[in-house]
C-alpha cells in the first residue's frame, strides 16, 4: 500500500464511497481499453468520480497513463486498507465545518495513526467537548459529563446565589 488517504476521506463510509468510485472508473477503463484494442470508437463519457478518487488514481498512475492492472491493484489496496485501518468515532455537540474536520483528521493522522479512519457524529446533549469511541472503549470528554461529575457544585453555586 503506497498511498495516503486525503483528509477529505476520513470515515469508513468515505473510504467505501472512494472504493466505489475507483471501481466504476476501473469498469469504464476496462471497456475503454477493449474498445481501443478493437480500434472502435468508445463514446461513453468518463464516470463522475470525486476529486479524492481522481487524486488517488493520479497518485497511483505514472503521471502519464494508468493501466487496468494498476487500477485493480489500487482497488485491492483500498479493500485491504478498509479491513486493516484503525477506526475511531468522535461525537461532537454540533456538526463540524469542513475546515475543522480537516484539522482534526490531519492532527489524528499525524499524531495518532497515519491511516486512521474517523467517523464524526453529533449530539447536542453533549453541550461541548467530545466523546471518543475506539472498539469497546469510550472516552467521554464532553461538557455534559464534566457538569455531571461536578454536580455538587450546582448546589454550592445555588446556595451562594
Amino acid at each position: 500500500m503506497n498511498f495516503s488517504l486525503p483528509s477529505s476521506v476520513s470515515s469508513p463510509q468515505d473510504l467505501t464511497a472512494l472504493t466505489t468510485d475507483v471501481q466504476s472508473y476501473a469498469k469504464w477503463l476496462s471497456q475503454y481499453s477493449i474498445a481501443s484494442k478493437a480500434k472502435t470508437s468508445y463514446s461513453a463519457a468518463h464516470p463522475e468520480i470525486t476529486p479524492a478518487a481522481i487524486e488517488l488514481i493520479r497518485a497511483a498512475s505514472d503521471q502519464k497513463s494508468i493501466t487496468e492492472k494498476q487500477v485493480d491493484e489500487l482497488i485491492a489496496d483500498l479493500e485491504s486498507f478498509a479491513k486493516t485501518a484503525p477506526v475511531m468515532t468522535i461525537t461532537l455537540a454540533a456538526p463540524l465545518s469542513v475546515g475543522t474536520k480537516k484539522t482534526l483528521v490531519d492532527w489524528c493522522r499525524t499524531s495518532i495513526h497515519p491511516n486512521i479512519l474517523i467517523t464524526f457524529q453529533f449530539n447536542s446533549l453533549l453541550l461541548g467537548g467530545m466523546v471518543l469511541r475506539t472498539g469497546s472503549t469510550i472516552f467521554d470528554w464532553s461538557f455534559r459529563r464534566s457538569l455531571l461529575e461536578r454536580k455538587t457544585r450546582f448546589t454550592e453555586v445555588l446556595d451562594r446565589v
Partner: protein
C-alpha cells in the same frame, strides 16, 4: 289256683240257679197254657160264664198265690244258698288269701334275703367302684392340676416375657416421645429464634430500605436538579455551539490522552 276254683264254683252255682229259675218259669207258663185251653174247650158248654169266670179268677188268684209263694220260697232258698255260698266263698277266699299271703310272705322273705344279699354285693361293688372312681378321679384331678400348674407356669412365663417386651416397647416409645418432645422444643426454640432473627432482619431491612429510598429520593432530586440545569444550559447554549471555537480544547484533549487512545487502537 285257689282263686280259679272259687270262681268256677261261683259260676256253677249261678248256672244252677239260672237253670232252676228257667224251669220254674217254663213250668208256670205250661201250666197256664193248659188251664186256658181246658177252660175254652171243656168247661164252656158246661158251666155258666159267670161261674167259669169266677173259677178262672179264683184259679188265677190261687195260681198267683202259689207262684208268689213258690217264688218267695225260691227267693228264700236262693238267699240261703247265696248266703251259704257267700260264706263258703268267703271262707275259701280267706283261706286262699291266707295261703297266698303266706306264700307271698315266704317268697317275699326269700326275695328279701336274696335282695339283702344282692344289695350287700351291690353295695360292696358300689363301694369298690366308688373307691376306684375316687382313685381315678383323684388321679385325674392330680393330672389336671399338674397340667393346670404347667399351663399356668407357661402362661406366667409368657406373661412375664410379654410384659418385659411391652416394657421394652414402652420404654422405647417413651424415649422416642421424649426425643420427639426435645426435638419439638428445639424446633420451637429455633423457630422462635428464626422469628426474632427474621424480625430483626426485617427491621434492619426496613430501615435500610427507608434509608435507601430516602437516598434514592435525594438522588432523584439531584438528578432532576441536574437535568433542570442541563436542560437550562441546552436551552440557552445548545443551539449556539461553535465547534471551531472548541477546536483548541479538542486537540489539547486528544493530545493529553494520546497514549490511551493509541493503546486502545492497538
Amino acid at each position: 289256683m285257689g282263686g280259679l276254683e272259687v270262681q268256677l264254683f261261683i259260676l256253677g252255682n249261678v248256672f244252677v240257679i239260672g237253670a232252676l229259675m228257667s224251669a220254674a218259669l217254663f213250668h208256670w207258663r205250661e201250666h197256664r197254657t193248659k188251664m186256658k185251653s181246658k177252660t175254652k174247650s171243656s168247661l164252656q158248654p158246661i158251666l155258666p160264664p159267670a161261674t167259669v169266670r169266677h173259677i178262672i179268677e179264683k184259679a188265677e188268684k190261687e195260681y198267683s198265690r202259689t207262684v208268689e209263694q213258690t217264688s218267695l220260697e225260691l227267693r228264700h232258698q236262693l238267699h240261703t244258698s247265696a248266703t251259704s255260698l257267700h260264706d263258703q266263698v268267703s271262707n275259701l277266699g280267706l283261706k286262699m288269701i291266707n295261703d297266698e299271703l303266706g306264700q307271698y310272705r315266704s317268697d317275699l322273705s326269700i326275695a328279701h334275703k336274696e335282695t339283702i344279699g344282692s344289695m350287700q354285693g351291690i353295695s360292696k361293688d358300689i363301694v369298690e367302684h366308688s373307691q376306684e372312681l375316687r382313685t381315678r378321679l383323684l388321679n385325674r384331678q392330680a393330672a389336671i392340676e399338674l397340667q393346670l400348674s404347667r399351663q399356668q407356669a407357661e402362661l406366667e412365663a409368657k406373661f412375664i416375657a410379654h410384659s418385659d417386651s411391652l416394657d421394652v416397647v414402652f420404654q422405647k416409645r417413651e424415649n422416642d416421645f421424649m426425643s420427639k418432645l426435645d426435638e419439638l422444643e428445639k424446633s420451637l426454640l429455633n423457630t422462635q429464634q428464626q422469628y426474632l432473627d427474621k424480625q430483626k432482619e426485617l427491621n434492619a431491612q426496613l430501615e435500610q430500605n427507608t434509608a435507601a429510598r430516602q437516598e434514592q429520593r435525594l438522588e432523584q432530586l439531584d438528578t432532576q436538579l441536574d437535568d433542570a440545569v442541563v436542560a437550562f444550559l441546552l436551552e440557552t447554549l445548545g443551539h449556539n455551539v461553535d465547534i471551531g471555537a472548541q477546536l483548541p480544547y479538542l486537540t489539547e484533549t486528544l493530545a493529553a490522552n494520546k497514549e490511551a487512545i493509541t493503546k486502545e487502537l492497538r
